[in-house]
């Protein structure tokens, strides 16, 4: 059995490594094609990691990515594609900001309440897609994307100054949240910055994700439904309930993903709140192979690319376009999906061959064994 374990570990690592190597090579080709030095940008970016203020930025950004990617990954395990994380988290952040600006409970109640608001909003928005899928058979891919766009309109409407909007300078915001809802972070000094307090929430969610999926009955049912809907149904899983529940949970977690930023730093929702988190999260979930450890690494990598690349614009003597990081992210995602699939299939075939060989070797010592010839 030992050799299976070693091989499996190797296979697990092979996918992402291959993808990263491929992405780096391709990005270098792009750089060469643009007439630039293919190695310099990497060196510049890696240099950035040494600065502690950049490190704080990376950790903070990664925590947002991490939670959002968990939400996406949960869907992926169920073969559900929750592309709506973007709309879910923005809507949740806005609602949380509005509630936080108008309700003031003592801190130990306020923060959990705000988290709950975010969770429920996200779950509700994803739940719409879930209901449509379960009752009407509408593909969740299209419906969640539509809901993203509708969420933008809803936010636009609710942040009108007639409703909940508050004008601050030229920006529309939701007003400053009550202080009892501000979550303190780890302050590392004025030059370095503050790590979001809710980074710990991200860690907790990651642990919870692993526990639920691998150690609970519900998680088993969920994974079974994702692997084979028919087998899961025959085994007793209520497919519709499962789909709906999975969408709710995925949406709920997505709703939490904007909160580290909201409660730890901005304390208001403005239309400049980062958007596009949802799509990035998909790439991160893919790179992390839908497991919490992998996603953590992927989130850190992504955040690193995000935060280290602005320096490229100011590099001397030659400046590089910081969008090279964006291309690299896109290439990573693409390379990842191919390399994972290729490695997985190779691994399966290899295992089948090995098992067949082992059984044949065992049978060679047994005269009466009838082997099944592929018919």
């Amino acid at each position: 059995m030992k050799k299976f374990d070693k091989e499996r570990a190797l296979l697990a690592v092979a996918g992402p490594v291959l993808a990263l190597v491929a992405a780096i090579v391709l990005t270098s080709i792009v750089l060469i094609a643009s007439g630039k030095n293919p190695f310099e940008p990497y060196r510049l970016m890696l240099e950035q990691v040494g600065f502690s203020d950049i490190q704080v930025l990376i950790i903070n950004q990664a925590s947002l990515y991490y939670i959002a990617a968990l939400a996406v990954a949960l869907g992926f395990r169920m073969n559900l594609f929750n592309i709506g994380v973007d709309g879910q988290y923005r809507l949740a952040a806005m609602m949380t900001a509005v509630v936080g600006a108008h309700v003031a409970l003592p801190s130990f109640l306020q923060v959990p309440m705000l988290l709950l608001v975010g969770l429920l909003t996200g779950a509700f928005w994803a739940g719409i897609a879930g209901v449509l899928k379960v009752t009407r058979g509408v593909s969740e891919v299209v419906s969640t994307i539509m809901l993203n766009a509708i969420a933008t309109s809803v936010i636009g409407y609710l942040t009108l100054t007639d409703n909940f909007g508050v004008l601050v300078g030229d920006n529309i915001t939701t007003g400053v949240m009550k202080e009892s809802g501000w979550v303190p972070g780890i302050n590392l000094g004025a030059d370095v910055g503050e790590i979001y307090g809710l980074v710990f929430l991200a860690v907790l969610l990651g642990i919870g994700y692993w526990l639920v999926l691998n150690r609970t009955r519900f998680g088993f049912d969920l994974r079974a439904t994702g692997a084979s809907e028919t087998a899961a149904a025959a085994s007793g899983v209520d497919a519709k309930k499962m789909v709906f529940t999975a969408m709710l949970i995925s949406g709920g977690v997505a709703g939490l993903s904007g909160l580290p930023l909201l409660l730890g730093d901005s304390h208001t929702y403005a239309l400049t709140f980062p958007a596009g988190l949802g799509f990035t999260a998909i790439g991160i979930a893919l790179l992390g192979r839908n497991n919490p450890g992998g996603i953590a690494l992927a989130a850190l990598l992504w955040a690193f690319l995000d935060k280290a690349s602005p320096a490229l614009d100011y590099a001397t003597p030659v400046a590089y376009e910081k969008e090279i990081a964006t291309i690299m992210q896109g290439l990573i995602v693409f390379a990842v999906v191919i390399s994972y699939e290729a490695v997985r299939q190779w691994g399966l075939r290899r295992q089948q061959k090995r098992v067949g060989a082992e059984l044949a070797a065992a049978a060679a010592g047994n005269n009466n064994h009838k082997k099944e010839v592929a018919a």
Partner: protein, 510 residues
């Protein structure tokens, strides 16, 4: 007309695939009309006049007969009027009775087979290879098929057909080749061979007989089904499990009024502890719907099901399984296993709420793994370990794992759908033994199978399902496959008596 016989797994299909160009041989030669040939693809074989009629039909449901026939050979007659004419011509010449503009999904099994034959003739085949053509047909349809084949023979075409049904082979072939474990073991001429000799050539040893010794049937009812009825439903939506029709605004709605086709019609039966009730029938006559209604995958439209005295008609699948209903599904890859999961996780499948798999709402991996090792030992599942994926096991071993898993929860009622399909002979015998052993302990079994010998040998009571109704019953001790067959096509019904000169009065309480 040349027949190729051998038991399951002897290598017949592989040989035919090589002959048809779908697989390359490692050694040896093929000679066609005196000329040595090598096929790299089906196109090569087709060019040489060899046409293959597959066991699993290669037809696209949403396309018409015409489209399916001309696909890949559009250059011959185009895809319009000329092709249509040619199809009609072939159909008339050989009595195939095929209409070109019907959608395949609207055709029954025997008709689809004729489309497959027509496909091959359309391309000018002079040699036809038929792979287990009678597997899905009932004896009367088999006769019709052989008539068609004789017609082809009369026109000078050659037919090779693969079968493991010795009776048919002897009645229609001119020459027989026997294959065992991948090599030719003998050739026979039907006129000079008896079935026994042929069988011995084929298997080489005593045929395993599923016959049972003494009756274990008690009078305690385990499953009572009354008036179970299922109406035909409409199409499936985007990848979802099929929904009843009529939920879209612009579609035809299936009303519950009379005139709607019933897939299951007023089914009533009782199975007692220690009884195996076998149900014979051609596929598509309601067996799947019966199974689904019993296991809870799709509820019936009316009627009741009682299990150990409790009415379970509306219960969810999980609840039924927890109560003690075991299920060996017909399609183990789609319903019985998670192919890419390790064996121990497959052991949990279907019983995730029960010990030793789970404690409360937590899964107990160690408990499941230990128990999986036990099942592997007790049920002789050939595998190097319990961490390999289910996909790496052979079909027989997969099925043994499934049987072991279901039996490990001491079911009171077992639904066994084609339990030894695609399974090698050794595993088949083992599975029969386990079922018999459990029956002695009081298990009630519903056995659905296309293998009439299995049904006859294993069952205590035998019923026939046709068009959704239980039309006939028979005594397994005396009935023959042919007699069953006539009920399976609707030609006979009621209590089937075995017609034999020396018929002794049978024990009907069986």
């Amino acid at each position: 007309m040349h027949a190729l016989v051998g038991e399951n797994g002897a290598g017949k299909s592989t040989l035919m695939k090589i002959l048809y160009g779908m697989q390359k041989p490692d050694e040896g030669t093929i000679t066609v009309a005196g000329e040595q040939v090598a096929f790299h693809s089906p196109a090569d074989a087709i060019a040489r006049g060899i046409g293959m009629v597959h066991q699993h039909f290669m037809l696209a449901d949403n396309l018409t007969v015409l489209e399916n026939v001309v696909l890949g050979s559009e250059k011959l007659y185009g895809i319009g009027a000329a092709a249509r004419k040619k199809i009609k011509e072939i159909s008339d010449r050989y009595g195939l009775n095929v209409r070109p503009d019907v959608l395949i999904e609207d055709l029954g099994v025997a008709d689809r087979q004729r489309v497959e034959i027509l496909k091959v003739l359309f391309r000018g085949a002079t040699t036809l290879i038929l792979d287990e053509p009678t597997a899905v047909l009932v004896p009367q349809e088999v006769d019709a098929l052989f008539d068609n084949l004789r017609e082809l023979k009369a026109e000078g075409l050659s037919v090779i057909f693969i079968s493991h049904k010795l009776g048919e082979v002897l009645s229609v072939a001119d020459e027989i080749t026997v294959i065992r474990r991948g090599t030719t073991v003998g050739t026979a001429v039907p006129a000079e061979t008896t079935p026994r000799q042929l069988a011995e050539l084929m298997v080489g040893s005593e045929l395993p007989t599923p016959e049972t010794a003494e009756s274990t049937v008690t009078d305690k009812p385990v499953v009572e089904v009354k008036g179970l009825t299922v109406y035909a439903s409409g199409g499936a939506s985007l990848g979802e499990l099929a929904e009843p029709a009529g939920t879209g605004l612009l579609t035809e709605e299936v009303s519950e009024a009379d005139g709607v086709r019933r897939v299951l019609d007023d089914i009533t039966f009782t199975i007692h502890a220690g009884e195996v009730m076998g149900v014979a029938g051609v596929e598509g006559n309601g067996q799947s719907e019966l199974i689904e209604a019993l296991i809870g995958l799709k509820n019936a439209d009316s009627g009741t099901i009682a299990f150990l005295g409790e009415e379970i008609t509306s219960w969810a699948t999980r609840k039924r399984r927890e109560k003690g209903i075991g299920y060996i599904p017909e399609d183990r890859h789609r319903q019985g296993l998670l192919l890419e999961a390790p064996l121990w996780e497959n052991r949990i499948l279907g019983h995730v709420t029960e010990r030793p798999n789970a404690k409360g709402f937590w899964i107990d991996p160690k408990g499941a793994q230990d128990d999986t090792r036990r099942i592997v030992k007790d049920y002789d599942v050939r595998t190097p370990g319990i961490d390999v994926t289910a996909a790496s096991l052979s079909g027989g071993n997969q099925q043994k794992l499934i049987v072991g898993r279901e039996m490990s929860h001491a079911p009171k009622f077992l639904i066994a759908a084609h339990p030894t399909r695609g399974v090698d002979v050794g595993a088949q015998a083992a599975i029969w033994d386990h079922i018999r052993a459990a029956r002695r302990e009081g298990l009630a079994v519903l056995l659905i199978s296309a293998d009439l010998d299995e049904l006859i040998g294993l069952s205590d009571t035998l019923r026939v399902i046709y068009n959704g109704r239980l039309v006939a019953d028979a005594d397994p001790a005396t009935i023959t496959p042919e007699e069953l067959g006539s009920a399976m096509t609707g030609a006979a019904s009621g209590h089937l008596e075995h017609v034999d000169e020396a018929a002794a009065p049978e024990d009907e309480a069986r």
